[in-house]
């Protein structure tokens, strides 16, 4: 999920102005509370004593000072926001953020101070002769609640401004929704588990345990590197189409021969040789080694190409943890289907070996759409799709002999692809 957060100075200034007004209202309400305490309460038996008055004055003056500081800080924030909108200097932005954080902290402390004043009025003053009456209590409660309410309300515009200024530094904010859900589940579960211990509640314990477990599990099993299959096909098909076009244009008649690593200096290399003339002999080992990094081969005339499945073969080797040139054909017959299923190239792979012929049956290959697209081109018939090509590379490496794709058949929906390979005698 992506959220675009542009910088909106007008909204931030409007929010800050609302917060300034709310803080000013709080200051006025504090004065009204002070009026009730210092004038009205003496009519209901309150005796003046320094013990309560000094404490009350300290909190009251601090509270008033805090309101004034908060209003000034927000005024400066309005100015710095306007400057930031013009200049876009990060220093201004950071100063605004710090000021708003200071205002948030001041408002929290103000609430705590007022709660202390409230406890002096509602508890301590009864020790100094104060008599309860709704005549003073109702206006006092009204002013007190309105004041607390306006301080609380001021939090909302300040926090919105903070969020808008903070997130404006990033054009795009990327939220991993799965991770967010998992972390929420883990947090809620942990809180419920803690509460279950406190309240001895089995329901809280079961729900908490399950939330923690499933949150953790979802976080553990969520995918990381998956791409859509359509994206894969769209990316690979133009490359194969280009290769096909080149082969059609050069009009080489020979079949593609998958060469084993012994033909190259670098034994990790996988290449195919295609001759100009049909049924031409393979070039000598030295001839290919001498020209292994070139496209054209002279004796006999032909081309050297990197097959479409070369990298896939290396990946299969990596997954198996073995080099194909070190294993037998029987090992390949047994292990290759397992790897295919494991990395989900195809649903099912069956390999049959009869003397020098190897036949494969691939069910539901991820490249099956490519077969439809390239079918029945020269490239597809002799070189094969990336999966068939990878198998041919693996067979050449494993047997140490050249391999050709003799025939490829597929069902109408290309769900099943059957390919026959021949291991050539040298």
């Amino acid at each position: 999920m992506k959220i675009k957060v542009p910088f909106k100075p007008r909204i931030i200034v409007a929010m800050l102005l609302v917060a300034i007004i709310l803080n000013a209202v709080s200051a006025v309400l504090l004065m009204l509370v002070d009026h009730v305490v210092h004038i009205d309460l003496y009519n209901y038996g309150l005796e003046f004593r320094n013990e309560w008055a000094e404490q009350y004055w300290t909190y009251s003056r601090l509270l008033m000072s805090f309101f004034l500081v908060a209003i000034v800080a927000m005024g400066i924030s309005v100015a710095s926001t306007s400057i930031y909108a013009q200049s876009r200097k990060s220093g201004t932005r950071q100063a605004t953020l710090l000021l708003l954080m200071l205002v948030t902290a001041i408002n929290i402390v103000s609430m705590l101070f007022f709660i202390r004043i409230d406890s002096i009025v509602n508890m301590d003053l009864y020790n100094y002769g104060l008599q309860f009456s709704y005549d003073w209590a109702v206006p006092y409660w009204t002013y007190a609640r309105l004041m607390l309410g306006s301080i609380g309300l001021a939090f909302a515009p300040i926090l919105i401004s903070l969020t808008l200024i903070f997130s404006s530094a990033y054009v795009f904010v990327r939220i991993d929704s799965i991770k967010l859900v998992c972390i929420t589940m883990l947090s809620v579960g942990a809180i419920l588990l803690a509460l279950s211990t406190n309240f001895s509640s089995m329901i809280f314990a079961f729900v908490g345990l399950s939330l923690v477990f499933w949150g953790g599990l979802l976080l553990y099993i969520r995918p990381q590197d998956y791409v859509k299959k359509s994206l894969l096909n769209e990316t690979v098909s133009p490359l194969l189409a280009n290769l096909d076009k080149i082969l059609t244009e050069v009009a080489y008649k020979g079949s593609a021969v998958y060469l084993p690593p012994k033909y190259f200096k670098d034994t990790k290399t996988s290449k195919i040789y295609m001759s100009r003339e049909e049924n031409a002999r393979l070039p000598a080992l030295e001839e290919i080694r001498r020209r292994e990094n070139q496209f054209l081969i002279e004796n006999p005339e032909g081309i050297l190409l990197t097959p479409p499945g070369a990298e896939l073969t290396k990946m299969l080797e990596e997954k198996l943890g073995k080099n194909f040139s070190d294993v037998t054909l029987e090992y390949l017959q047994q292990k290759l289907p397992e790897v295919f299923e494991k990395i989900e190239i195809a649903e099912y792979l069956q390999i049959k070996i009869e003397n020098n012929r190897v036949s494969t049956k691939i069910t539901n290959s991820v490249f099956k759409e490519l077969c439809k697209a390239t079918n029945p081109s020269k490239m597809y018939i002799t070189i094969g799709c990336p999966v068939c090509s990878a198998i041919a590379c693996a067979l050449a490496e494993c047997s140490g002999r050249p391999v050709v794709i003799e025939e490829t058949r597929w069902t109408e929906d290309t769900r099943i692809i059957e390919t026959s390979y021949r291991i050539l005698e040298e």
């Binding site: 279950s196 314990a205 553990y220 099993i221 998956y226 989900e344």
Partner: protein
């Protein structure tokens, strides 16, 4: 301030979770399952086996308790 779940409760919870995970793992398996589900199947299987093993351990502890108390 005691944790409200007993050993038996945990064992029961483990059994339910293990069954749910086993069914999920089977439904999302490569052979005839819902293969297009984008999850780390190998890790799901690991978690399933871990939960099943934990449940079997609790069962073994119970069986041991019964044998000892005879």
């Amino acid at each position: 301030m005691n944790f409200p779940l007993s050993f038996w409760d945990i064992s029961l919870w483990l059994s339910f979770t293990a069954i749910i995970l086993l069914i999920t793992a089977e439904l999302t398996s490569q052979h005839g399952g819902k293969t297009r589900l984008l999850i780390h199947r190998k890790r799901l299987l690991q978690a399933t086996f871990a939960m099943t093993l934990l449940f079997l351990i609790t069962v073994a502890i119970y069986v041991y308790d019964i044998i000892v108390s005879l």
